[in-house]
């Protein structure tokens, strides 16, 4: 298991190669571990039985077969290919930050996560697109399932520079025009923008019948405030700076962050939006597993 790229440290995996290689490696390992599509519920159909292996989920056990033959079989499904998914990636400047020199920036992590996710979706023959944004929509790759789509998505990720500010609401509204039918919207962002506006847009997407998943990407250093005795922290987007003593503010900061996460989670749950926090040191496989 330790050799599976999806379960390795993201920074180590990132050193193996470019986004494509990393994403493919992650996805291969991820799917091998699952032995099936993780995305149930999106128009899936039963295909065949196979013998139960330790580690298979019991909910897919065919109880009738067990009753008839006293043997353990699990049911296997085949996904439909008419799912349309859009991955929204936050490319603002705040995403281009990392808490430690040997870690990944939030943007690097998000790029690789988005690429892996796109590859999984495309392998299921789901039309998948990409939208990158900062304070405006920067790049749009409409959802397609044709060959070369993943490469376009990866190129789109690579060609989107680090932006300046963040404004998710226009990007989310723009998605509605790209997904005329019900589909899947995956937002990968550090959520350092106005929560009310973003939630309004997310709620609108839900209202249009889309399945919405939010990945809240955070660096460990954003969760636990550390630093010298006194330091002047500067926001890379707004250039606002504040002088604090990390040691004495750490507790209050931690409480504030947890409260913010709780507020996002609560608001998302209230509107049927799946919300997940992922740290940039979390193996990609675990992040993808959150979707299962």
């Amino acid at each position: 298991m330790l050799t599976r790229p999806d379960l390795l440290d993201p920074a180590e995996v990132a050193r193996l190669g470019g986004i494509e290689i990393v994403a493919q490696g992650v996805v291969e390992g991820f799917l091998a571990g699952f032995h099936r599509s993780p995305f149930r519920g999106f128009s899936v159909e039963f295909t065949e039985h196979r013998a139960y292996q330790p580690g298979d989920e019991l909910r897919y056990l065919d109880w009738r077969m067990l009753a008839r033959s006293d043997r353990l079989y699990v049911k296997q499904f085949e996904e439909e290919t008419n799912l349309r998914a859009m991955i929204l990636l936050d490319a603002s400047r705040s995403m281009a930050w990392r808490g430690s020199a040997d870690g990944l920036t939030k943007r690097a992590y998000a790029d690789r996560l988005a690429a892996a996710l796109a590859l999984i979706l495309l392998r299921q023959r789901d039309a998948t697109g990409l939208l990158t944004f900062d304070d405006a929509v920067r790049r749009v790759i409409p959802a397609r399932v044709k060959a070369g789509q993943w490469a376009r998505i990866v190129r789109g990720l690579l060609e989107t520079p680090d932006g300046v500010g963040t404004a998710a609401e226009p990007a989310l509204r723009h998605v509605t025009s790209l997904l005329p039918r019900r589909g899947l919207v995956v937002l990968i962002s550090d959520l350092l923008f106005d929560r009310k506006l973003a939630l309004t847009a997310l709620r609108y997407l839900r209202h249009r019948g889309h399945q919405v998943i939010v990945f809240h990407v955070m660096d460990r250093a954003e969760l636990e405030l550390t630093g010298p005795a006194e330091v002047q922290f500067r926001d890379p987007e707004s250039e606002v700076s504040v002088v604090v003593r990390p040691r004495e503010l750490a507790r209050a900061y931690g409480v504030t962050v947890q409260r913010e996460i709780a507020a996002w989670r609560s608001a998302c749950r209230r509107h049927g939006i799946a919300y997940h926090t992922v740290r940039t040191d979390m193996p990609f496989g675990l992040a993808l597993r959150l979707l299962a």
Binding site: K106, D190, F233, V240, V243, V244, R247, E248, L249, T256
Partner: protein, 566 residues
């Protein structure tokens, strides 16, 4: 409050360090990029009040720690009745080591107890005090505590009397000029009544005088006073504490007992001396040992002159001639030119009587002036009785007729001085001596004075020709270690001084407390209260320990606040 090391207080400037460091640290904090500044701002807004209070509290605690440590290092002295330290004080300790302090009480010299009290006084002095020690020798010793303690340790009972009143006055003069916060005089004495002297100490409001109350009650004692030899006998006065019973006194000469008597203090016994040849003789009068040994033996010395060769003209009258005849028979005088008795001074030692013929007075006066004698006869004087403090033989003898003796001003009137007045009548000189000439205001005749008719006439003539006219030095007495010193001129011994304790030391009656308080202006306290009263009012305690504990507590509080806050 005062400080033992006030210069350390300069370190209080370090109390601004926390605030200074705080300001300097805030001036250039390192910069860092941090995307979640909005969370920081929220957290800071919500914690601003708590943080500000915490910062203020930490600043105060750190400042307090430094302040407390610096104050502790400066060794603060705060007022405390039971404190061991005190404000800088100028202190004179008067330790009475006069002979009376040598009395043995309960098998232990009283001086040992006095010494212990003085040691305690000096030992309780602080490094900022200025100290003096005054002993019975009258020397006011200035010194550091260790030096004076050593002086106290090495002090012994001295032969000198201490006038406590005089000593206190001197001590007050010493401390009064000291620019210190307090001034004290500690009188550690047996407080003999006789040691208080006369008069009262001039009070100085800024000087506290503490006197140790007498450690013991009245002690019986007998002592030997100044022994005088005259008329072939030694007069031995017995001194001591009134009420003491009689004791045996022995008079010895060259170690050989020549007389013994039983007497109580206040009584003078006369012990006949053997017939001795010319020269200086030394004897002693000894009492049986008692608690005060210093006054149990008294030396005395006297001189026996060789018979003077005297010549007297017929004009001096029959009484002198008869007396001289008696003295010649007793080998007290001889016929010769050493001393002349006449109406006019001769070339040598002379006894000059008023001329029987008043017309010759002028001639006599001129002859006196020619001899350089400043006295002269100045006409008839009023009758009266003789007063002669040093010559008991003459005292009270009636004088019916006399020539006044005038002149001699500036010569002094001491009985023992050359040229001094030896006897007076009605306050006017009657018997004077100057420049080897003795002038007598009356002729030694019963028509002039009753002296020739008294039993003391022959001894008087003996004294006149053997001692008064030649000016033979009589033995002097002085205070000091008992011994005899002879004064020599060339090969001749011309005088002697007998040293011994002051007779007043023998009376061990302690002065009443109220009298001591009145005379010395002192608080008279027993040993315990004396110890408690030292430096009282300025008594301080060293608060550095308390401050250090406080500093530790504050430091712990600072640590707790700093730790809990993070």
């Amino acid at each position: 409050m005062s400080f033992l090391h006030p210069l350390v207080l300069l370190g209080l400037a370090a109390a601004v360090l926390p605030a200074l460091l705080h300001l300097l640290e805030r001036r250039r904090p390192p910069q860092a990029t941090f995307p979640a500044v909005r969370y920081l701002s929220q957290a800071e807004r919500q914690s601003a009040r708590r943080l500000k209070l915490r910062h203020l509290l930490l600043l105060l605690l750190r400042t307090a720690v430094i302040t407390l440590v610096v104050l502790a290092a400066a060794r603060p002295l705060v007022s405390a009745p039971g404190g061991r330290a005190h404000a800088p004080t100028a202190l004179v300790v008067i330790l009475d080591n006069s002979p009376s302090s040598g009395v043995v009480v309960d098998g232990r010299p009283l001086f040992e107890r006095l010494r212990a009290v003085a040691r305690s006084s000096l030992g309780s002095a602080g490094p900022a005090d200025r100290l003096w020690l005054l002993l019975a020798d009258g020397v006011v010793r200035r010194g550091e505590r260790a030096a004076l303690l050593a002086a106290v340790e090495s002090a012994t009972v001295s032969p000198w009397r201490l006038d406590v009143r005089d000593a206190v006055e001197r001590a007050m003069r010493v401390v009064a000029v000291e620019p210190l916060a307090a001034r004290e005089v500690h009188v550690v004495s047996d407080l003999q009544r006789t040691a208080l002297g006369a008069g009262r100490v001039t009070a100085a409001p800024s000087v506290r005088v503490l006197a140790l109350a007498p450690l013991v009650g009245p002690l019986p004692n007998r002592g030997v006073g100044m022994v005088e030899v005259s008329g072939g006998a030694a007069s031995v006065p017995l001194l001591g504490t009134p009420g003491t019973g009689p004791g045996a006194v022995t008079v010895r000469l060259a170690g050989r007992t020549i007389g013994r008597a039983l007497a109580a203090p206040g009584v003078t016994v006369s012990v006949p001396l053997p017939v001795l040849g010319p020269g200086w003789w030394v004897g002693d009068a000894v009492l049986d040992p008692d608690e005060l040994r210093a006054d149990d033996r008294r030396l005395f010395v006297w001189h026996i002159s060789p018979p003077r060769r005297v010549h007297a003209g017929p004009e001096v009258g029959p009484f002198i001639q008869a007396a001289l005849a008696v003295l010649r028979d007793a080998r007290r005088v001889a016929q010769g030119p050493d001393v002349g008795i006449a109406e006019r001074p001769g070339p040598g030692t002379s006894v000059v009587l008023p001329p029987a013929d008043p017309a010759l007075v002028g001639e006599t006066n001129r002859a006196l002036a020619a001899r350089g004698v400043r006295w002269h006869f100045a006409g008839p004087g009023t009758p009266g009785r003789l007063v002669a403090p040093g010559l008991d033989l003459l005292t009270g003898v009636a004088v019916a007729r006399r020539e006044r003796i005038a002149g001699g001003e500036g010569r002094g009137s001491g009985m023992s001085g050359n040229g001094g007045v030896l006897a007076t009548v009605n306050g006017e000189p009657w018997l004077v001596r100057d420049s080897g000439v003795v002038l007598c205001g009356s002729r030694l005749d019963t028509a002039w004075t009753a002296l020739p008719a008294t039993t003391g006439f022959v001894p008087f003539v003996d004294l006149l020709v053997n001692e008064l006219a030649p000016g033979t030095a009589r033995a002097r007495v002085a205070e000091g270690i008992p011994h005899v010193e002879f004064e020599r001129r060339g090969a001749d011994t011309v005088g002697a001084t007998v040293y011994g304790p002051d007779p007043r030391e023998s009376d061990l009656t302690a002065a009443p407390v109220d009298l001591v308080a009145r005379v010395l202006g002192a608080q008279v306290l027993d040993e315990a209260h004396f110890a408690a009263a030292r430096f009282v009012g300025t008594r301080r305690t060293d608060a550095s320990g308390v401050l250090l504990v406080l500093a530790l507590l504050v430091a712990a509080a600072e640590l707790a606040v700093a730790t809990l806050g993070t």
